[in-house]
């Protein structure tokens, strides 16, 4: 029996393993982006779909994977690992999962490379697709955005499981024997967060914090940078641009409804990579799209200091310009594009958010380091609850502080009697509670997570319950929960659906009847005519 692999088989096998590794990384990262993935089946083979599976290639992820592999293939003692971790708005991070692609020495010499191995690798990828939706981190990643983000990191070499905490569990996705060894794909995941995850993350509505997006460029101890699980990233990390990203980006304009002249209109564009974006089905708590607002430069400084905060929102503009537009690229708050304000990079060459000239108006409206920015955002939305949200206008009062994570004084709009009460000055009170201004005591690793999540607890639940006609069960609209404004979009809408009548329109209140008004007109005219000269002088002073 021929025990040595023919050279063609060897080449094929190496190719298969290499592409398998790349596709594995793609599947894992795409599963942690926070949105549903959808690809089409095609009956005619395109020739470019490896393993007969339609798995999109996010260029940046491929780049990272290739970088980590640096021309090598997984072998005994050299495994390819994808680490998924969570980073909260306060900068705490925690490893959630480590996916390992390993090779061991147990060879299966008799297996046919081009046929059986290929099909089994395909089956293994399908299993990976199934398993990535099943580990606890999946549900966490679907809810990422405001309070935390999910990052990934690829490294090659020894598997490091120490960051997963005690009692982590392992699930084996599968194995495929090859003449060179047995490929094993497994996932080790932390479980002591799983406890907290669904309950706590669910109850807290998104904190309307200022999200600064940038990559972590600084190497971690294991010397490979973390990346956010967001495929619409600008591939900035080391200034490298990915030609494929630029080539394949299609810019689509999300237009906003026009708002009254005193407010601003801007256009947001977001790019998609390569092919039409995955169908974003509205399942998340955020039915709105394209909500944007600006924030303070001060926040930028504070927030970005130590963060590898991944991109959550597109910062659209000049790095020099302190204000940034934050746009959720899709529901769920994972933004279209990250920018890198901390690095001073514009990163907008691939930026998805572009502002029309009107944004000049936007920025002039905002005063630099004063306490409040006011901005009106109108947004259109997609998804099941699309219609009520179309043309919805929301007014936000922003305050300094990234991820302002203050406990909301359990005052929701529902409990406020005064209409437009949110505009009533509450500055002093809010300032006191603002953790950015008065930083809390430094907590342990676990508690800030809990703290940040619990802060919104009660208001979240109330917000969740007060909606009826256009929200789903757990309605948590992005960008509508504001730490300054203790209410969310739905409440606001309902509250102000029926504003009180103008007093001038109500007849009861008017002292005079219409007839009397008409009668008195000639007299008034006569008086005015007498004072014509004064009026003229006044008009001249105006000119």
């Amino acid at each position: 029996m021929d025990t040595d692999l023919s050279s063609q088989d060897r080449k094929d096998l190496d190719k298969f393993i290499k592409f398998f590794a790349l596709k594995t990384v793609q599947v894992i990262v795409q599963a942690r982006l926070g949105e549903k993935i959808c690809t089409r089946s095609s009956s005619s083979p395109t020739g470019s779909d490896w393993f007969n599976l339609a798995i999109k290639d996010i260029p940046e992820v491929t780049h990272e994977a290739k970088k980590a592999l640096s021309g090598q293939l997984p072998a005994v003692g050299r495994s390819m690992c994808v680490e998924i971790s969570l980073k909260t708005s306060e900068g705490d991070s925690m490893e959630l999962e480590i996916w390992c692609l390993e090779m061991n020495e147990k060879c299966d010499k008799e297996i046919k490379v081009s046929y059986t191995v290929y099909n089994r690798l395909s089956l293994l990828l399908k299993s990976l697709l199934a398993i990535t939706r099943v580990t606890p981190a999946y549900r966490l990643s679907r809810k990422q955005g405001h309070e935390y983000v999910i990052l990934y990191r690829i490294y090659f070499g020894e598997v490091q499981l120490s960051g997963l905490g005690e009692g982590f569990q392992t699930v084996r996705v599968g194995t495929v024997g090859t003449p060179l060894g047995t490929i094993t794909l497994s996932c080790a995941y932390r479980i002591n967060l799983a406890f907290m995850s669904t309950r706590q993350f669910e109850r807290t509505p998104p904190i309307m914090g200022i999200i600064i997006d940038h990559f972590v460029d600084r190497p971690y101890p294991s010397s490979s940078p973390m990346h956010p699980c967001n495929y619409r990233t600008t591939g900035e990390d080391n200034g490298a641009t990915y030609p494929s990203v630029e080539d394949s980006q299609e810019v689509c304009t999300t237009s906003f409804s026009t708002s009254p002249p005193s407010q601003c209109v801007f256009t947001v564009t977001k790019a998609h990579f390569q092919t039409p974006p995955p169908v974003v089905m509205d399942t998340l708590k955020v039915p709105m799209m394209g909500l944007a607002f600006s924030h303070q430069p001060a926040a930028l400084g504070v927030g970005s200091a130590d963060m590898g905060y991944p991109v959550i929102f597109a910062g659209g503009l000049n790095a020099a310009h302190p204000h940034q537009l934050i746009v959720p690229g899709k529901e769920g708050g994972v933004p279209p594009v990250p920018s890198q304000p901390a690095h001073g990079t514009q990163a907008d060459h691939e930026r998805m958010v572009m502002c029309t000239p009107l944004d000049g108006a936007l920025y002039s409206a905002a005063t630099p380091s004063s306490s409040e920015d006011t901005e009106t955002v109108s947004n259109s939305s997609e998804g099941k609850s699309a219609s009520p949200h179309d043309l919805l206008e929301t007014i936000f009062v922003r305050k300094v502080g990234a991820f302002v994570n203050k406990p909301i004084n359990q005052v929701t709009m529902a409990s406020l009697d005064i209409p437009f009460a949110m505009f009533a000055p509450k500055n002093v009170e809010l300032e006191d509670n603002d953790p950015m201004v008065n930083p809390p005591d430094s907590p342990d690793a676990e508690s800030p997570l809990q703290g940040s999540l619990h802060s919104e607890g009660s208001s979240g639940s109330s917000a969740g319950n007060t909606h009826d006609d256009f929200v789903m069960v757990d309605f948590k609209p992005a960008f509508s929960k504001d730490d300054i404004l203790p209410m969310d979009l739905g409440t606001f809408y309902r509250e102000f659906q029926n504003p009180p009548q103008l007093s001038s329109l109500s007849i009861d209140i008017g002292a005079q009847s219409m007839a009397e008004d008409l009668d008195s007109l000639p007299e008034k005219l006569a008086v005015h005519e007498k004072n014509v000269k004064e009026f003229d002088a006044f008009v001249e002073t105006l000119q």
Partner: protein, 277 residues
């Protein structure tokens, strides 16, 4: 020959508990085995029938897997679809396009994520509307039958992968299963919203476990039908769908009013089938 020969090969086992598998697919497999091997394979009375079934299955390389879930009424459909779609994801390929010289190329299978409305769960399924429709129809029928059956609400749905074997006239084609998945469903009734909320999460976690079990079985790389030639492809695959090509499968279900009667009816049927030969 006799029973001993039938004992080679893999046995059927139950995921949840060690007990002989008694389900519709099994009886069919058993029947086919008996047909082939002749009367020497007749089982002895009921007590040993289970073992005989196992052996019959083993002879035909038919794997049998059993999964059990307890769900609330609203969750039946989604839970079943999640499991069935996951199994079919692994058991579907792209469409074959045969070229000359017996080579073929394979189309591409796309996937999409489906969020469940009544369960905290998301699963990936094959992007094929036809397949989805077919499964939904089967699951819908199962759900209706289950809910109309009575308050107990125990039933099982069977997904069987089979191969067709052409027989000479006048015998009709044989369907020989090579993998049978049985999902036992136990419907619970919940009193209030809070319990339902807990149930959402719990069933979600349970389904995660089931999917891990399914993947584990899939990745054992046990028997799969050989890739067929062009003339044989319809005996192995369902070529009727336009975008994907799953292995030939059929879905059947069985409702029981109470656990006791299910065993009795199946046992009775087994014996009847055997004797009908």
């Amino acid at each position: 020959m006799g029973m001993r020969c039938l004992a080679e090969g893999r046995g059927a086992y139950c995921q949840e508990a060690q007990r002989p598998i008694i389900e519709p697919g099994l009886s069919r497999a058993f029947r086919s085995a008996v047909w082939r091997r002749g009367s020497s394979a007749l089982p002895s009375p009921a007590g040993k029938a289970g073992r005989a079934c196992l052996q019959a299955q083993a002879a035909m390389n038919c794997r049998s897997e059993v999964l059990e879930v307890s769900v609330e009424g609203r969750q039946i459909e989604e839970a079943m679809l999640a499991v069935l779609h996951t199994i079919l994801l692994h058991r579907s390929t792209g469409k074959f396009h045969y070229k000359k010289e017996g080579t073929y190329s394979i189309g591409t299978v796309g996937t999409q994520d489906v969020d469940c409305d009544f369960i905290d769960f998301t699963y990936a399924r094959v992007s094929s509307e036809e397949l989805d429709r077919a499964l939904r129809k089967a699951v819908g029928e199962f759900k209706d039958a289950l809910r109309n059956s009575g308050s107990e609400g125990v039933g099982q749905i069977c997904l069987e992968f089979y191969q067709k074997k052409k027989s000479r006239w006048p015998f009709s084609d044989e369907c020989i299963p090579w993998e049978v998945w049985t999902i036992k469903v136990n419907v619970v009734n919940l009193a209030n919203e809070q319990e339902r909320q807990i149930c959402r999460e719990k069933v979600g976690e349970k389904l995660c476990e089931k999917l891990i079990n399914i993947v584990e079985v899939m990745n054992r790389h046990e028997y799969l039908p050989k890739m067929p030639t062009q003339s044989e492809v319809d005996n192995v695959f369902d070529t009727g769908l336009k975008d994907v090509q799953p292995y030939l499968y059929k879905v059947s279900y069985q409702i029981t009013d109470s656990l006791g009667s299910s065993v009795t009816t199946t046992m009775r049927r087994l014996i009847k089938d055997t004797l009908a030969l």
